[in-house]
């Protein structure tokens, strides 16, 4: 492993272990995503929503947060984020198969609707952007209680058009709350391209309407995202208020397993995005700086595959929820 000061992640104060951990998280997210996609195509999982192409941005921001302290209200693509916050491959597969043991919802919700109180991952729903005020409320509560933490929430660029985004940002801005608003701008909201969806040049421009900084980063540059995230976290903890971070990324797969993206974007565009994929470029970086070697790379890949295999086998064999248990937990038991 290298020691030169010119190594970017060292400059950011990240150890080789940490960047390797980041990479591992991305790899695991990708492997899970690809496996679930296959299982969907094989007719085993009725529905899948994919994080493919966004793992780099997700790992960058997730590692800027403190997964033993902060609260997150993620959106449905944030697989790498929730893995960092403690969900396991098995948890994810249990949700994919809608099993009784699914920690997010007991098989009640679609995959991608993460949740875990133990890991401070707030349960998410399908209507987009509703989680954004929740993060603001978490931050407000922490402020009232005098607890030092950050609340993170993520959403797509299309979802930044919802009223809830606006109202939540303004509330957080007025009360200078420790919130990280993380927009994963993947250029499409289902079929609608950025220019037909968002009227401003950059989603980050919206921050000026709420009196806090907005920055745009290359979402395929894991370390740039990490840095933007860490700066925002430090500001937030210092009482400096919220930050809006826009990560430019790309959704490599169709919107969901029910979508067919050929109607609305060219294959060339998708191929180009695959070349910029952080999973490719970050691996290259790690090889360059000697963190990733032929041997640990093979081992990582082996481990991740085993993890996904084991998770799949476990979830496949796990029990479905009891039909009548659908009546439970409408209210406190």
């Amino acid at each position: 492993m290298t020691e030169e000061t010119s190594v970017r992640h060292h400059e950011l104060g990240l150890s080789d272990e940490e960047v390797l951990d980041m990479y591992r998280t991305m790899l695991l997210a990708r492997a899970l995503d690809e496996r679930m996609w296959l299982l969907n195509r094989a007719g085993k999982l009725p529905f899948i929503v994919s994080c493919k192409g966004q793992e780099g941005a997700q790992a960058g921001i997730a590692f800027a947060l403190d997964n033993t302290r902060d609260y997150i209200a993620p959106y449905y693509r944030d697989l790498a984020v929730v893995l960092r916050f403690g969900q396991t491959a098995r948890d994810v597969m249990l949700s994919g198969y809608a099993r009784r043991e699914d920690p997010s919802s007991g098989g009640r919700q679609m995959p991608g609707h993460f949740g875990s109180r133990a890991h401070r991952i707030l349960s998410g729903s399908s209507p987009v952007a509703t989680q954004i005020p929740h993060a603001v409320g978490l931050a407000l509560a922490a402020k009232i209680r005098g607890e030092r933490l950050v609340a993170y929430t993520s959403f797509g660029e299309g979802s930044s058009n919802q009223g809830d985004f606006h109202e939540a940002c303004n509330f957080a801005g007025v009360h200078k709350l420790p919130v990280i608003f993380f927009c994963e701008n993947n250029y499409y909201a289902i079929s609608v391209p950025l220019a037909r969806q968002v009227a401003c040049e950059r989603v980050a421009d919206r921050a000026s309407g709420y009196g806090f900084p907005g920055i745009t980063v290359d979402g395929n540059d894991v370390l740039a995202v990490f840095k933007a995230g860490r700066d925002a976290v430090l500001r937030a903890l210092d009482g400096g208020g919220p930050t809006l971070i826009e990560a430019l990324t790309y959704r490599i797969n169709p919107h969901s397993s029910d979508d067919d993206d050929r109607a609305y974007r060219s294959r060339e565009e998708v191929e180009l995005a695959k070349q910029k994929d952080a999973l490719v470029t970050f691996a290259e970086y790690l090889r360059q700086v000697g963190v990733l070697t032929a041997s640990n790379e093979a081992q990582l890949s082996h481990e991740v595959t085993n993890e996904v295999d084991a998770a799949t086998a476990y979830a496949e064999a796990a029990l479905s929820p009891d039909p009548a248990d659908a009546m439970k937990f409408v209210y406190a038991p």
């Binding site: 009725p46 009640r108 009223g163 969806q197 609305y264 929820p321 009891d322 039909p323 009548a324």
Partner: protein
């Protein structure tokens, strides 16, 4: 006349009416290039262009609010809400604005528009892509709420909705899109809003229903025929306004009433239907008014066993019908 899928009948209505009336335009999420996530609006952008088939930004309150602004101007917008579950951000625009525009301006302004939304479950849609939301709207004066169960009605009611001078919510059961097909008149075909359809005459029990459940009820009724139970089946089609006369007449026909809907029971459409009967036909009844509905849980779970638990089926309905007949 041609046999058409429910989904194709809806597209047919849109296309027919857009050709006839230049003031009609469609807006919603992914309705253009993508032709809608269910492909209801497929082909429309090619025929009518971007100006009349608008891929709106992801913001339901704006979709409805902008449609209202266009409607007051004299256009006839047809807004699509991608899933009925996502109509909730637009509730203020629908209830405070569209429903009250004519009333609050003392008939000076009006708001002729249609809001289409796929609803209903049984398609692995989980908590937020399966809901029935009609109970939210059917008590709101100023709105009309339509839920067709056949392809012919889907076309005829949608054309009626597009010609209606007031706002109409048009709920399409997504399970019907490619499940149901029937004879749909070509060209002009209008089914008046507010009239229920008697789907089956019978003498032992009356079943009142709408939407996908109309099919399940008819299936159950057919099975029960063999057991010697004869069911009278009314399909409401419009739940605001409700067809009071048809409801009361159907109840009187047999004196035993079962109301069936997919939406959860408490405060659902069945409550009002039951109350109407208890108000107007109480002494014609030979049995308590029964309701068979979705359970009172927040929504339909994703996993198959619990989804099945939530959903009614011809078998569950037949069982309730048997019990009523035996009363």
């Amino acid at each position: 006349m041609a046999i058409k899928l429910y989904i194709d009948a809806i597209r047919d209505a849109l296309q027919y009416e857009m050709r006839r009336d230049e003031s009609i335009f469609v807006l919603g999420e992914d309705v253009g290039v993508r032709g809608g996530v269910f492909r209801v609006t497929q082909g429309l952008i090619e025929e009518f262009g971007e100006a009349r088939v608008i891929d709106a930004p992801l913001a339901e309150s704006a979709i409805v609010g902008v449609a209202i602004g266009a409607a007051v101007y004299g256009m006839r917008p047809v807004a699509e809400i991608q899933f009925a579950d996502f109509i909730l951000p637009a509730v203020n625009q629908i209830i405070s604005e569209a429903a009250k525009m004519r009333y609050r301006s003392n008939n000076d302004w009006s708001c002729p528009m249609v809001i289409r939304a796929p609803y209903g479950g049984g398609v692995h849609g989980a908590l937020y892509h399966s809901q029935s939301l009609e109970a939210l709207f059917y008590h709101v004066p100023g709105l009309k709420v339509v839920i067709p169960s056949t392809a012919a009605d889907a076309k005829g009611l949608l054309i009626a909705a597009m010609r209606d001078p007031d706002p109409v919510l048009f709920f399409e059961h997504k399970g019907l899109y490619r499940l149901v097909k029937d004879d749909v008149p070509d060209g002009e075909h209008v089914v008046p809003i507010g009239k229920a359809a008697l789907r089956r005459e019978g003498t032992d029990i009356t079943v009142i229903t709408y939407g996908l459940m109309a099919h399940y009820v008819l299936e159950a009724a057919q099975d029960l025929e063999q057991e010697g139970i004869s069911a009278h089946v009314l399909d409401l089609r419009s739940i605001l306004p409700l067809d009071r006369e048809a409801i009361v007449a159907a109840a009187r026909e047999t004196g035993k009433v079962l109301i069936v809907h997919e939406d959860n029971k408490t405060g659902g459409v069945g409550a009002e239907v039951s109350a109407i009967i208890a108000e107007e036909a109480l002494f014609d009844l030979d049995a308590p008014i029964a309701r068979l509905c979705g359970p009172d849980i927040p929504a339909m779970p994703f996993n198959a066993p619990q989804e099945k638990f939530y959903m009614l089926s011809p078998a569950k309905i037949a069982e309730a019908m048997r019990q009523l007949a035996a009363f």
